[in-house]
């Protein structure tokens, strides 16, 4: 009996600290965020209210709608580019490379940049792509171009390149893990049954690695969806994303209620993507 109650006490403590933390620093702040999103901007700051004006602005004002759609497009392109680079790489490592230690080294080489400052990885692309930058001066010194080009920096492709560079480890990790789990004898059996390598890949390997693709897509999509540093450094005027607009609402525009509404929209989009990817993964597992 006594042992039972001390065990209960310790389990309350184990549970209590994280639950209290989650309530104080996640649930309450999200609640406050939601509350603010219904308030009204009024000079000099804003006043309590309950109305949906901020949300109506977000979804009807073409200015915000355009940014929202642009952000979805950029995030999708980043995820796609990461997938196209990460999948062949992970596939080669798991199924083609026989040298065990080379495999570990190459895997580490792709994950290692995660430890190197995110800000610096964005900055170095700014220094490479700029008008006065490394790429332009290199092209001019080799005589390929004669004058500096402005086409590299401050546009959407610069942003896709930079964000892909930053977030690609998040695509490699889950795909590699998924491919590693596929038993080797499955593809052997498929070859024995007369399927060529391409059909084996399409019918066996690809479907079995789908959970990894979904997880990688979710991560890279959500992370680039909320980024405001890379767009600021390499995006230029038509490269601002939702997060940049939110930053300006909390800065120069000083419209916290609208900024909060945009943040709530972002939160819900992320939650929707996570839920969808959970469903997809579970569906994939049931399928087999």
């Amino acid at each position: 009996m006594a042992a039972f109650s001390t065990r209960r006490l310790s389990s309350y403590m184990v549970l209590g600290i994280p639950i209290a933390w989650i309530i104080i620093f996640m649930l309450v702040p999200y609640g406050v965020l939601l509350t603010y999103s219904f308030w009204v901007k009024k000079y000099p700051l804003f006043v309590p209210a309950f109305q949906f004006g901020n949300y109506i602005t977000v979804f009807t004002d073409p200015q915000y709608l355009r940014v929202l759609l642009r952000t979805l497009k950029i995030s999708a392109l980043v995820s796609l580019a990461s997938l196209l680079l990460a999948y062949p790489f992970a596939y080669f490592l798991v199924f083609r490379l026989k040298n065990q230690s080379l495999r570990v080294w190459l895997y580490m080489a792709v994950i290692a940049p995660l430890w190197v400052s995110y800000l610096l990885r964005a900055y170095t692309w700014k220094s490479i792509l700029g008008t006065q930058g490394v790429l332009n001066s290199f092209l001019m010194s080799t005589g390929i171009t004669t004058e500096p080009s402005t086409i590299f920096l401050y546009n959407q492709s610069a942003m896709v390149v930079t964000l892909t560079y930053i977030f690609i480890p998040f695509m490699v990790m889950p795909i590699y893990a998924a491919l590693e789990k596929i038993p080797n004898n499955l593809s052997e059996a498929s070859a024995d049954l007369g399927m060529g390598p391409i059909r084996t890949f399409l019918r066996i390997t690809l479907p079995l690695s789908l959970p990894g693709i979904v997880a990688g897509f979710t991560l890279t999509f959500c992370l680039s969806f909320g980024d405001f540093i890379a767009p600021f450094l390499v995006g230029g005027p038509d490269g601002l994303l939702v997060a940049n607009v939110i930053v300006s609402q909390f800065g120069a525009a000083l419209n916290w209620p609208l900024g909060s509404a945009l943040s709530v929209v972002m939160l819900f989009i992320v939650l929707a993507i996570i839920t969808a990817s959970d469903r997809l993964e579970r569906f994939g597992q049931q399928g087999h």
């Binding site: 790489f89 080669f92 930058g133 007369g194 997060a243």
Partner: protein, 287 residues
């Protein structure tokens, strides 16, 4: 009909698989290798650009290189704002790491061990910041601090980081907990150990490398964090915030010099974490 067609298919693949198969496999491997080399160039040329231009004696980052200098490093060490920012970053990252471990280890144990109402929600909320952009964490906490009249400071930044990094600690510790045989706990209880004794003498030593790994990663991520810091800091700057504000003014070799030092520090930490995980593997094999 169908068996006949598979038979012929089989025969044809078997005959095809002899010599041309080897050649095409070799060609495919070469193509893969070229692809991997290009990917490595994509990943590492930018980092080398960062490093090389920190030693170049020109204010602009242009090719060809003009000459070797250590001046940019010299100016760093006389820059008081920068040194203060580095100090702040150490304070923030250390405190946030300790806090997130204190909350994260019990959270991972709770998810691993207990059944309780709302567990699914609990787990989901804790893991949310992995995918949730830092800006949402930053803004929601900013709103709360403002509403309740707290002033922004390095301490509010620490609370923000600890919240955002909780997911890192929980995933690392939880995946180790799952691999620990439950019989260890049971054996300890059979031998008369109390719950806290089992935790202290059985569970914790087995978690040691996972905890150190999680702590290292949290420290690095906190040291490097911008989106949460951006909204929650008061007057003081952390190192990345300082660098970010310098970047707004443009590209300068001083940033490359700071960056090179940060890359060097990251390299040291990567080596430490690799050694740690090797040791963990070895001890697990000997178990």
């Amino acid at each position: 009909m169908s068996t006949a067609s598979t038979d012929t298919a089989m025969i044809s693949t078997v005959s095809r698989a002899r010599k041309p198969g080897l050649v095409s496999r070799y060609a495919a491997d070469m193509a893969f290798m070229a692809f991997v080399a290009l990917l490595m160039a994509f990943l590492y040329v930018p980092i080398w650009v960062l490093i090389i231009f920190s030693f170049n004696d020109s204010r602009t980052l242009t090719w060809p290189l003009s000459g070797f200098t250590l001046d940019w490093y010299g100016t760093l060490f006389s820059n008081q704002d920068l040194l203060a920012a580095i100090g702040n970053s150490f304070y923030v990252a250390t405190s946030a790491t300790i806090l997130t471990l204190i909350v994260g280890i019990p959270a991972a144990m709770a998810i691993n061990k207990f059944q309780f109402p709302g567990k699914a929600l609990f787990r989901r909320l804790i893991l949310l910041p992995i995918t949730l952009p830092g800006i949402v964490t930053g803004i929601s906490m900013l709103n709360m601090f403002r509403l309740f009249g707290f002033n922004l400071s390095l301490e509010t930044v620490i609370l923000g980081h600890a919240t955002a990094l909780l997911s890192v600690v929980v995933t690392q510790v939880y995946s180790r907990l799952q691999r620990l045989p439950r019989s260890l706990d049971e054996a300890s209880a059979d031998l008369g150990a109390k719950g806290w004794q089992t935790f202290l003498y059985v569970t914790l030593p087995n978690l040691k490398t996972a905890i150190i790994g999680a702590a290292l990663l949290s420290f690095v991520l906190s040291f490097d964090e911008i989106p949460v810091t951006f909204f929650l800091t008061g007057r003081e700057n952390t190192l990345p915030m300082y660098i970010y504000s310098t970047m707004r003014r443009g590209v300068t070799p001083e940033i490359n010099a700071v960056g090179t030092l940060i890359v060097l520090a990251s390299l040291v930490l990567i080596v430490i974490s690799v050694i740690m995980s090797r040791e963990a593997n070895r001890s697990r094999q000997s178990l």
